[in-house]
Amino acid sequence: MIGDIIGTWIAATLTIAIFSFLYRDNPLYRAAEHIYVGISAGFAVIYAWAFDVYPMLVDTFKTNLSARNYLEAYILIVPALLGVIMLLRSIPKLVWISRIPLSFTIGIGAGLGLIASVQGYLLPQISDTLRPLINLNNAIIYIGVITTLTYFYFSKEHKGALGALSRIGIVFIMVAFGASFGYTVMARVSLLIGRFYFLFHDWLPLIR
C-alpha cells in the first residue's frame, strides 16, 4: 500500500516534469527524460535475460545436459556464440565479424516476411479489391486503386489522360492522409486525457 502511494507520487512528479517542457526546455524535463530512457533500457535488459537468455539458453542447456541429450545441449553453443559476436559491433576493428549473426537475422526476417507479405497481405487485399461492380462503394474502390497506382507510375510523364488519372489519385491519397491524421490527433489527445486522468484520479482524488 505504501509502495503504491510512493509509486503514484513518483509517477505524478515525473508526469509534471515532462509537461513542464510545454512551457520551455528545463533541467527537470531533461532529468525525467533521462530517467525514462535509463529505466526502459534496464527493464529491457532484465526481460531479455529472464524471458530469453536464461530459459531458452542457460536453462535448456542445463536440462539437456542432465538428461544426457548432448547434441541438443551443445548445439546451443552456436546461437550463444552468434549472440556474443553480435556484441562486437561496439569494437570498430571487429565490426565485420558482427555481420555474420546479422546475416542470419536478416535472412530469417526476410524469408518469413516475404511469405507473410504475399500470403497474408498482398493476395487477400487483391482478392478483396476485385469486387463485383454492383454498387457505388465498390466502384469507388476500383477508381481509388487504379488512380492511386497511376499516380505512382513514373515511366511516363503525367500528361493528358494519365495526368488526369494521377490527379484524381492525389485526391484519394489526401483523403487517406486526412483520415490517418485525424486518428493520430485523436490518439495524441487520448494520451493527454490518460495523463490527466492519472493525475486527477490516482494522484489527486478529484475524479471518483
Binding site: F51, M56, Q119, Q125, S180, M186, G194, F196, I207
Partner: protein, 274 residues
C-alpha cells in the same frame, strides 16, 4: 498588427493552456454522452461473445506504457467480457515493457469474477523475435513457452494441457500500438486461419480497416473511442467512457483553432497582396 494577424502569431503556450482547460473540465464535471457502437467494435464484441464457455482466448499485449491510456481500457473490458463468459485466458506479449501492464489488468479484473490463476488464466510471458514465434506457435506453443512467466511448467495447468497450437485457441486478441498486429494477421491469420480481433491505438486504426474489410480479422477496437464502445457493450464504463467528453471538447477546440487560423492566414495574405 490587427486581430487576424495576432491570431496567426499566437503563442503556442496559450493553445496548450486552452487544450488543458478543455480536457480537464469534462474530466471533473463528467457530462454524460451517448456512446454509439460502431460495427467493427460490435463485431469484435460478437467474436468474443459467441465463443462457447471454456474456450481458450489468447490475449497478446503488443503495446507499452506510451499507449496504455488508449489500449489499457480495451484490455480491461475484454478481460471482463472473457471472464464473464467463463473463457480461459492466455496472456502473452510481444513487447517487454508491455507485459507488466497486462499483469496489472489481470490482477485487477480476475478477483472481480473470482477467477484463479492457473485454473482460469495464465500469463506465459514474453519471448523476443515475434515473427518466428508466431509461426512456431502454429506447430507447438511449448517450443517457445515451456513455462509460464513465473517458471511453472505449462502442463501443470489443467486447461493448458490441451493447448498446443492455434487449433486449440478459439480467438486471438492483439492489443497493439505498432506493426505486431499486422504480423499476427499475416502469420497466424493467413497461414493458420486463426480468428483474430485487433484493439489498437488511433494511429494504427486506419491501417487495420483494410484487414477488416477483407475479412482477415473479425473486428477492430480503434483508439479511445473504440474502447469506450466496448465498455458500453460490456456495460462497465471505465476510463475510456470518462475520457470521451474530454476527447470531444478537445477535438472541438482543435477544429475551431484550425478554422480561425486559416481565416486569419487568408485575410493576412489578402491584405499583404494589396
Amino acid at each position: 498588427m490587427n486581430l487576424w494577424e495576432r491570431i496567426t502569431t499566437i503563442d503556442r503556450r496559450i493553445i496548450y493552456l486552452l487544450l488543458t482547460i478543455v480536457v480537464i473540465t469534462p474530466l471533473i464535471i463528467k457530462p454524460k454522452i451517448l456512446v454509439r457502437v460502431s460495427q467493427p467494435v460490435r463485431d469484435a464484441f460478437n467474436a468474443v461473445d459467441q465463443l462457447p464457455a471454456y474456450s481458450v482466448v489468447m490475449i497478446s499485449i503488443d503495446f507499452d506504457p506510451s499507449s496504455a491510456p488508449e489500449v489499457q481500457p480495451m484490455l480491461l473490458a475484454i478481460l471482463r467480457h472473457a471472464f464473464k463468459k467463463d473463457l480461459k485466458v492466455i496472456l502473452t506479449g510481444q513487447l517487454a515493457l508491455g507485459l507488466p501492464i497486462g499483469e496489472i489488468a489481470l490482477n485487477q479484473v480476475a478477483p472481480e469474477y473470482s477467477k484463479v490463476y492457473g485454473k482460469d488464466y495464465v500469463n506465459i510471458g514474453y519471448r523476443p523475435g515475434y515473427s518466428a514465434l508466431m509461426v512456431g506457435i502454429g506447430r507447438e506453443i511449448r517450443d517457445f513457452f515451456k513455462t509460464d512467466y513465473r517458471g511453472t511448467p505449462l502442463d501443470s495447468f489443467e486447461f493448458m494441457r490441451s493447448v498446443h497450437n492455434y487449433q486449440d485457441i478459439a480467438l486471438l486478441v492483439s492489443l497493439a500500438h505498432g506493426a505486431v498486429a499486422d504480423a499476427w494477421i499475416q502469420f497466424a491469420g493467413a497461414r493458420f486461419k486463426q480468428k483474430i480481433i485487433v484493439g489498437c491505438t488511433g494511429v494504427n486504426a486506419p491501417g487495420m480497416f483494410q484487414y477488416y474489410s477483407a475479412h482477415q480479422i473479425e473486428g477492430i477496437i480503434g483508439g479511445l473511442q473504440g474502447a469506450s464502445e466496448y465498455e458500453a457493450l460490456v456495460q462497465k464504463p471505465g476510463s475510456a467512457t470518462l475520457g470521451m467528453p474530454a476527447q470531444s471538447t478537445a477535438h472541438g477546440l482543435l477544429i475551431l483553432l484550425l478554422i480561425i487560423g486559416n481565416i486569419g492566414f487568408l485575410i493576412s495574405r489578402k491584405r499583404g497582396k494589396r
